[in-house]
């Protein structure tokens, strides 16, 4: 296996299980827990367990100079006894082999008994990444061929040819390696019972990365169905260290109604590897006040790459990746092989880079989160994280990409791009040392996903509402779903679920007198298949390199291209460009020429300073856990000594000019600047929550006559600017901060703002697609699609007006509240600071506020009223007309 280290003495110290420890872990969930045990297997137990491992496997391990690890054997024992188990192990601990070992042993045993040539699917391996499914398949062939096991192991992804998929259904392999989407499709097929009834083991890789999304919801529902088809199957979850294992343990096995008791799978915890060696880059040059480019540190990053064999440079966004890559090549005097990897690059290009990486042909690779998970990269000996780590667990995952040998510490270098990020990096290092993790919020299963699943189940066979309800609520994310809501979702699938019942005659599902729901038309099977999955892509445009041909009229011609595709970018990005604009992509400076259908035609440019449009902030907001650590650090002056001198100086200056808040306080500063009046607050609750807060405060300040003009938000705080003197308004009592920050803003103000917010419309679009209300756009149909498709905004507006309690609006609201709005976090913040607002009326901008003000113009917040843009456009026309008049 790729994840198996080369040394045999790589077994870390064992940790004995204390009963108390186990009990504490189980009571993490607020509901009670049934008591399976937690094992932290030690080497001494291993010898007993070794008897479980057939001789041929033992000698295989020895022949490779390895020894089975305790956690691998513990898992083997559990699975042999049909006990579903969660294995938590650090990278490099032979996690994947551990997951497959029980199946390999069982299947070798089966062949020993010379069973006839029946082919039944025995083991299902599910991974969040296509590439991982393929890679693991490749690696499994090593033990299978070494041991001469007659085991057929195949992978199945969206790229698998149709004929092979068909064969896999008719004559299933022993082990199938696949993705959640493929499982959903296979379960919706009429022969699913035939395919899965003999299933013994399901292995879920990178479970921590799967469960916290809609994909995880869908997978949970699919697991519930698999349990129905094969009641004796055992599940194995493989996960990196998480703050609350009980969430994942409950996910792995069936829950029961009423769910006052949570059933948990067993837990095996492998010992931690050597602690990583984490450093924060410190230079004599001061860290910039703001920005995300880390340009100031490029020479140092380059030096670190020179000093190591292979380095991964992680950044947070595609733009950052392009920029850092460009800068590195600018200083690359030694001609090091430095490559670029992000999700928008052409697949072929990415595969080439990955192959070069595996071969060890690269000195460095600049990557985004596309490399956070995934296949083994061989001898990476340094991970550099440029910018804010955003979360402790995320950082650990990234660091784990270096050095897959457990006994050697991974080496990582954190490069903060601005002063706030220094604090965040410091907090992340402390979290890593204390081995504390970010806590994922418990997830409530999404209703749009349930709707899609219900249609899929109807495609498989007619179903009884009662039986499906029992099955669905056995899935952990849906354990608390009530029957009424479930029935509303069925109603939605059947006829759209509208208050106005006019679609009965077109119903997709029909309830027959025996209480069974049947699909009304076979063509709906195809409709389901075309729309399955929970990943809704934003419309993408291909970036194509070529020479534009001009027509006689001087217009670029549609037939003049045919060049290489460099990758894809969001339509919204291309929308901002006009012919002649330059931007960086795929590591080159490109000139945008024209757009043809779904192709952006570009040419190479020798412009030195490309026009890189708005920096788009990291996808992930600062985690609650790191935010707490940052706030604590600010509150304790004694700890500032560990920070770089310019940062300590900055904080000291802040205490001279203003104050630094206590841990549980929020600081609000008001001051005049130029001809405007500013309010800056520092909640440290992440960009999303701050954006929501900014919108709501703007509404409130507008009502109290402060005449707000705009605001900016980042991960640490937000700044608003107004026409009127805020300090004075607060002093005279015409604005009361306690009212301004009152929790009741999450009521009517939020509703009123959201109703028209573009963000809500975007969320609704995703929900409508996943739930199957509207059909996905498919490649090929694209051309006509782009021209006259009616926008989902229209559906949203009409639905809100005429059926405001519709279930999809409910689902969209739930999505927005947990996702883009981060209402939960904002609510917790507003509760926490009640009576704890520290206001400082200042004569001028404070040191802490400087970075915030520098963000103005860089961190865009979409205006809620886009008519502003139209009004500006009209103004331009009017100005032109007036100019023409005066000229005449």
């Amino acid at each position: 296996m790729a994840t198996q280290p080369q040394e045999s003495d790589a077994m870390g110290p064992s940790v004995a299980t204390s009963k108390k420890q186990a009990t504490q872990r189980q009571t993490e969930l607020k509901r009670g827990a049934l008591g399976p045990h937690v094992s932290r297997p030690s080497s001494s137990e291993a010898s007993d367990l070794n008897t479980l491992l057939p001789n041929q496997f033992q000698s295989w391990f020895h022949s490779r100079g390895w020894q089975p690890r305790p956690h691998q054997l513990a898992l083997l024992q559990n699975v042999s006894a049909h006990r579903s188990t969660l294995l938590i192990a650090p990278t490099g601990a032979g996690k994947t082999l551990a997951g497959f070992l029980p199946s390999l042993v069982a299947l070798s045993d089966r062949t020993a008994h010379a069973e006839p040539d029946t082919s039944t699917l025995h083991t299902l391996y599910i991974s969040p990444l296509k590439a991982l499914a393929v890679d693991v398949n490749r690696n499994l062939h090593q033990p299978i061929s070494d041991l001469g096991l007659p085991i057929r192991c195949e992978s199945r992804t969206g790229d698998t040819p149709v004929h092979r998929k068909t064969r896999q259904r008719q004559k299933p392999p022993d082990m199938l390696l696949t993705t959640p989407e493929q499982i959903a499709l296979m379960l919706a097929h009429e022969d699913a019972p035939y395919l899965f009834s003999g299933l013994k083991t399901v292995i879920l890789d990178e479970l921590h990365a799967l469960t916290s999304s809609k994909r995880g919801d869908l997978l949970a529902l699919d697991l519930a169905r698999l349990r129905t088809l094969s009641p004796n199957m055992t599940t194995v979850g493989l996960s990196a260290t998480v703050a609350r294992p009980s969430q994942l343990r409950a996910y792995l096995i069936g829950q029961t109604q009423p769910n006052d008791v949570t059933h948990l799978a067993e837990l095996v915890v492998a010992p931690d590897g050597a602690k990583p060696q984490l450093d924060i880059l410190e230079l004599s040059d001061p860290v910039p006040w703001a920005g995300h480019s880390a340009r100031y540190a490029i020479e140092a990053i380059y030096q670190a790459i020179l000093d190591h064999k292979t380095t991964i440079v992680f950044v947070n966004t595609r733009m950052q990746a392009e920029l850092v890559f460009q800068e590195l090549w600018r200083v690359n005097e030694d001609g090091l092989a430095i490559a670029l990897h992000h999700g928008s690059l052409d697949v072929a290009q990415r595969r080439k880079v990955e192959a070069a990486m595996v071969k060890g042909a690269l000195q460095a690779i600049v990557a985004t989160s596309t490399l956070d998970l995934g296949i083994d990269w061989g001898d990476v000996d340094l991970v550099i994280n440029v910018g804010a780590p955003k979360g402790a667990s995320r950082l650990m995952q990234r660091i784990g990409r270096a050095n897959h040998r457990l006994d050697e510490p991974s080496q990582a270098l954190l490069v903060p791009a601005n002063r706030f990020e220094v604090l965040e990096c410091r907090a992340a290092v402390e979290a890593a040392e204390a081995q504390t993790h970010d806590t994922a919020l418990p997830r409530v299963g999404a209703l749009d996903v349930l709707a899609q699943h219900i249609l899929g189940m109807a495609c498989q066979a007619p179903f009884s509402g009662d039986a499906l309800f029992t099955e669905v609520t056995s899935a952990e994310p849906y354990a608390e779903l009530d029957r009424a809501t479930f029935d509303r979702v069925i109603d939605f699938v059947a006829t759209g679920g509208y208050a106005l019942k006019s679609y009965d005659r077109y119903a997709k599902l029909k309830l027959t007198h025996d209480g069974v729901w049947r699909l009304s038309h076979p063509r709906l099977v195809n409709q389901y298949r075309m729309n399955a999955g929970t990943i809704v892509d934003t419309p993408m445009i291909k970036v194509r390199l070529g020479k534009p041909r001009k027509t006689a009229k001087g217009q670029a011609m549609a037939h003049g291209y045919g060049g290489r595709v460099l990758g894809e970018v969001e339509e919204s990005f291309i929308d901002q460009l006009t012919a002649g604009d330059t931007f960086t992509f795929a590591g080159e400076v490109l000139r945008f020429e024209a757009l043809f259908e779904t192709n952006a035609l570009v040419t190479r440019s020798n412009a030195k300073d490309p026009k890189i449009p708005n920096y788009i902030g990291g996808k992930f907001p600062l985690s609650t856990h790191l935010a707490e650590r940052v706030r604590a650090m600010l509150a304790e002056q004694a700890r500032w000594d560990s920070l770089p001198a310019p940062v300590t100086e900055w904080l000291n200056l802040q205490t001279e000019h203003s104050i630094l808040p206590e841990r549980n306080e929020v600081l609000v500063e008001t001051f005049p600047r130029a001809d405007k009046h500013y309010l800056v607050a520092y909640p440290f609750e992440g960009r999303l929550a701050h954006q929501t807060l900014g919108m709501l405060l703007t509404r409130r300040l507008d009502r109290s006559g402060a005449r707000p003009l705009g605001f900016v938000a980042n991960d640490y705080g937000l700044g608003l600017w107004c026409v009127n003197d805020l300090s004075q308004m607060i002093e005279t009592g015409s604005i009361r901060l306690s009212n301004l920050f009152d929790k009741d803003m999450l009521g009517d103000d939020l509703d009123a703002w959201l109703a028209d917010a573009n963000l809500m419309k975007r969320t609704f679009r995703n929900v409508a697609i996943i739930a199957g209300l509207i059909e996905r756009r498919h490649p090929g149909k694209e051309k006509s699609g782009r021209q006259v498709t009616m926008s989902t905004d229209l559906i949203y507006d009409v639905l809100r007006k005429h059926d405001p309690h519709h279930i999809l609006l409910e689902a969209a609201w739930a999505d927005a509240a947990t996702g883009l709005l981060d209402i939960g976090r904002l609510g917790a913040f507003l509760g926490r600071i009640e009576g704890r607002i520290r206001h400082q009326a200042l004569a001028r901008v404070s040191p802490l506020a400087v970075p915030m003000l520098l963000e103005i113009g860089k961190e865009p917040v979409a205006p809620s009223q886009r008519d502003d843009i139209l009004r500006d456009a009209s103004q331009i026309l009017i100005a032109e007309a007036l100019d023409a008049d005066s000229a005449a």
């Binding site: 757009l595 900016v712 782009r786 009409v798 456009a873 026309l877």
Partner: protein
């Protein structure tokens, strides 16, 4: 960044816009309707009534409120201008069977709307035939006050024409944001109305389909915002 601009032109300044076609004065309304003061006539294009139920027949359960929504919005603008004549410029129903699928309440709304009003349905490609059950007069094309009113614009550079069919929309890029909205598009001699129906998409005015109509002589657009109708310089427009 959010820029509120209280000192700018007011919302009310953009409710309607005068448009002249060969010297005849019209008012383009923010709703997408065109009012002809001299004739007391309101002109709307491409209502596409019962589009949602047409989709529902194929298993795509769009909200069954599009006819209600379209008719209510139409009622508002008829009231606003106290129009004596209403001319629907074709594709009033999404398909020939659409009229039969109108539910009783929506049918009732239509009847009330037609009371005391001369109602003319111009046939479109989606509704070449319109059931006499829905009231009004059905015509293929009419000429009123020297202006031709038809569904599909005549594909030669004629003048004195008001048409629909194309669902014109314009895309604007400004301050780093883009915005695509239905619009009126005209050149002073002829005009194409935006689709009025609640569930209608739009075709970019820079699409080739508009070339036979306006040629290379240019045109003007008035984009429909949420609060107003905005004349926008064509050089700011973008293709899809």
């Amino acid at each position: 960044m959010l820029h509120l601009k209280p000192e700018r032109l007011d919302v009310g300044d953009f409710d309607e816009h005068p448009i002249s076609i060969c010297g005849t004065a019209f008012q383009a309304h923010v709703s997408g309707a065109l009012y002809w003061p001299a004739e007391h006539a309101l002109i709307v294009a491409d209502l596409h009534l019962e589009k949602a139920s047409a989709y529902a027949e194929r298993g795509v359960m769009l909200p069954p409120y599009d006819s209600r929504d379209t008719l209510m919005r139409l009622a508002e603008v008829v009231d606003h201008y106290q129009a004596r004549t209403v001319i629907a410029l074709g594709d009033s129903f999404h398909d020939p069977a659409g009229a039969d699928r109108l539910n009783p309440e929506d049918r009732e709304t239509l009847t009330i709307l037609q009371e005391g009003v001369e109602w003319i349905w111009i046939a479109g490609n989606h509704d070449p035939e319109i059931s006499s059950d829905v009231g009004g007069t059905v015509r293929n094309h009419i000429r009123l006050g020297g202006v031709d009113l038809r569904h599909v614009p005549n594909p030669t550079s004629v003048t004195h024409e008001i048409a629909g069919h194309l669902h014109p929309a314009a895309k604007l890029a400004l301050h780093g944001y883009t915005l695509r909205r239905p619009c009126f598009v005209g050149n002073g001699l002829r005009l194409v109305l935006p689709a009025f129906g609640s569930f209608t998409g739009g075709l970019n005015v820079l699409d080739d389909a508009f070339e036979p109509i306006f040629g290379n002589d240019g045109f003007a657009v008035w984009m429909m915002g949420q609060e107003g109708l905005y004349p926008v310089a064509t050089r700011l427009l973008k293709s899809d």
